[in-house]
Each structure stands twice: as C-alpha cells, then as structure tokens.
Symmetry: C2
Subunit: 195 residues, 2 copies
DNA sequence: CTGTCGCTTTACTGCCTGTATAGTGAGTCG
DNA sequence: CGACTCACTATACAGGCAGTAAAGCGACAG
C-alpha cells in the first residue's frame, strides 16, 4: 500500500487543497469571512465536496489543526535535547518553540482566539496544550534539580507554561517578528523562574 | 440635570439590563450561543429594543467594553503610584492589573479571543491596550533609571507588556484563580527584565 | 465492460443578523 | 386635563451562512 492508486491520490489532493485553502483563509481573513463557501472557492471545489471531506466547519478546523501538528515535527524535541545540559536544553526547547509559534503565527492566533470563544475548538487544542504542559514539566524538573527556585514547583510550572505559550509570544508584538530575538527574551524569563 | 426624570431613568435601566445580560452571556456561553435574541431574552426585552439601544452586535460589544472600562477605575493608577518608589510602584501596578484581569476573567477571555479573530473587536480593544502600553512604558522608564537592564529598552518594554497582558495572566491557569499569588509571579518576571 | 465513488448541480430547511412598520402605553408639557 | 413624545412591542421581511438531500456525470478499478 505504498503507492496510492490514481483515484485515492486525486481525492487526497483535493483534501489537501481544502485544508490549505482553509489554513490560508484563516490566517489572512476575519472569522466573518471564513465561510465554507469561501474555502471551497479558494480550493476550486464545491461546498458539498468540502462537507464530504470534513463533516462540518468544526471538522475542518480539526483537520487544519491535525495537519499543523503533522508539519510541526515537535514530537522528538524532548528526546533530541536529552543529551544536553539542563540550561542548553531549556534554550533549545524555547527557541524551537518560538520558531514554531512564528512559523504559523497568524493561523495560531486565529485558532487560539477561537478556542477562547468556542468550546469545540478549545477541546481540540487542549490535547496539544496538555502535551506541551508535560514537556514543560519535565523541563522544569531538570532545571529545578540544578538550583533551588524561589517559588513552589506548581508556580514555576504555571509560570513557565504561560511564558512559553503562544499567546504570550504573540503579545510580544514587533519583537515576535524575530523569533530568535524573542527566544532570548523568553529564555531569560524562564530562567528567572527556575534559578 | 442631576436627576434623570422617570422616563430617562427607565430607558437607562433597560440599557443597563441589556449590557449586563450581554456581559453575563459572553462570560458564560460560547460565541455560538451569544445571539442578540439570547441577550434580549435574558434582559427581558425584545430583539428590536436591543437594536434600538446598540445599533448592531458590534455596537453591543462596544458598549460592554465601555462599561467594563468604567467599572475598572484604572485611570488614576499612574498618579496614585507617583509617590512610591519604582519597585513599590511596579508591585502596585502589577497587583492592581492582576486584580482587574481576575475580576472579569471570563468576559475578558471572550473579548480578547474575539479580537484575535474579528478586526472590529480588535480595533475596539486596541485603544485600551495602547493606553496600557503607555502606562507600562512609563513604568519601565522608572525602573530602568534605577538599574541597567540586560536588554534594549524596546525588548524590555515588549516583554513587560506581554508578561502583564491579560492573555498571559489567563495562561497561568489555576494560579490565576488567586490574583495575589499570580501578581507575585508576574512582578518577579517584570523585575527580571528590568534589573 | 460494468460497477464504484468522488465530485457537481440544484434545492431545501433552519438559524441569525439587520431593517421596516404600525401599534400601545406611560411619562411629559402646555 | 388633554395632546404630544418616545421607548418598547409585535410582526414581517430580506439576506447570508451552516448543513442535508438527491440525482447525474465521469474517471478509475476490477
């Protein structure tokens, strides 16, 4: 089943087109203009085709997020940084995170904004944020082992998670246009909590 | 014109009712269920009455935000802290800010979420955020005068603004349930940027 | 060659926004 | 006291979007 057959290939292509169209539209336009019809037009298909691929508008957002996670490739970040010192691992993780926030900033802004207002979108994002939370927890533990932090572990974890969150990154404004510069700032904030 | 006359009083009361209903509904329900009809029902009036008071859904959000700003009473925070030392002023401003974020957390979450997705709401919030930015700028200047920070002033300002923003506060999760505890954490972060 | 299946076209229901219009009743003013 | 004002109601309407249903077409698969 390595090759897909012409039929499955074309349907996969239309699905790609739909998701890409949705991603672009979501990143560049208001929620008001993010209609199924607009997505269909941009993808060059009919509204009904969109409904065939993703059952609903919610399903479309779900597909967009799943695609985004696939592209991210953050899964192996934790094992990649295992051999580094705690401080180096911290810098690496923060930088990699900032790069990801930056790479899809407009799209993520829309998704996190919607999550604040739509329970369905929130529950979609919750899984990923939970995963990120665990990653941060293991990072905090490594850093805490090297020095005695000035706060509870719970406070440190909450602070680190918040400071490394997308919404905080996006709130950096013009600084966030340069992810490396932002990463230095965020790393400094994280270290100020764990040292 | 100190007394309002029965007529004007009742219309003001219905307006209050509408805005209160909108605030509660926005804080407790999804955007999907935040319809003009739902607001009208909760306020005990007709849809048409809502449209008479606030021209549109956007106007309703505008009114809710204006009301929120009135309640906040943050205007004189800057002059109130003028006589304090820079460090004390920082702690006071951060604490007061956190208390405000906490007092209307659900409502603010909805408004900031919408702002990420709706250009109209964004432009409504922009004014207030601009005002807050200036407040933070003057705070940063005071703190910078006392010690040489490790970053550009632009970086420090961006970092402080981000760290004291609502979205970051909200991202603190369970810690944000206790605004004083959160304030200590945020103050620490601010000081780590300015010292 | 025949059947499958994804895509299209068309049409429909239901919900929400926003507007228009006429009526009602309580407060206002001469 | 009587006439006027004006906020609110009831109702109906147009427009837009989500989601569903049904029938036809055409390329691919066996």
């Amino acid at each position: 089943m390595s090759t897909l057959g012409r039929r499955a290939a074309t349907t996969a292509a239309t699905r790609r087109g739909i998701i890409d169209a949705a991603r672009e539209l979501l990143a560049t336009h208001d929620w008001q203009h993010f209609t199924i019809e607009a997505v269909a037009n941009r993808a060059g298909v009919t509204r009904v085709t969109v409904y065939n691929q993703v059952r609903s508008k919610r399903g479309l957002l779900d597909a967009v997020l799943a695609d985004l996670v696939d592209r991210a490739g953050m899964d192996q970040l934790l094992t990649d940084t295992q051999h580094l010192s705690a401080g180096e691992a911290c810098a690496a993780i923060v930088q990699r995170t900032c790069l990801f926030w930056h790479s899809e900033r407009e799209l993520l802004r829309a998704l996190f904004g919607l999550a604040a207002v739509d329970h369905d979108v929130a529950s979609i994002l919750e899984q990923r944020e939970e995963w990120r939370g665990k990653q941060m927890q293991s990072l905090v533990r490594r850093l805490a082992a090297e020095s005695a932090p000035s706060f509870d572990e719970a406070d440190v974890l909450a602070g680190v998670t918040a400071v490394t969150s997308f919404v905080t990154y996006d709130a950096l404004g013009p600084i966030a246009d340069d992810p490396d510069r932002a990463a230095v700032l965020v790393t400094h904030l994280v270290r100020s909590l764990t040292d």
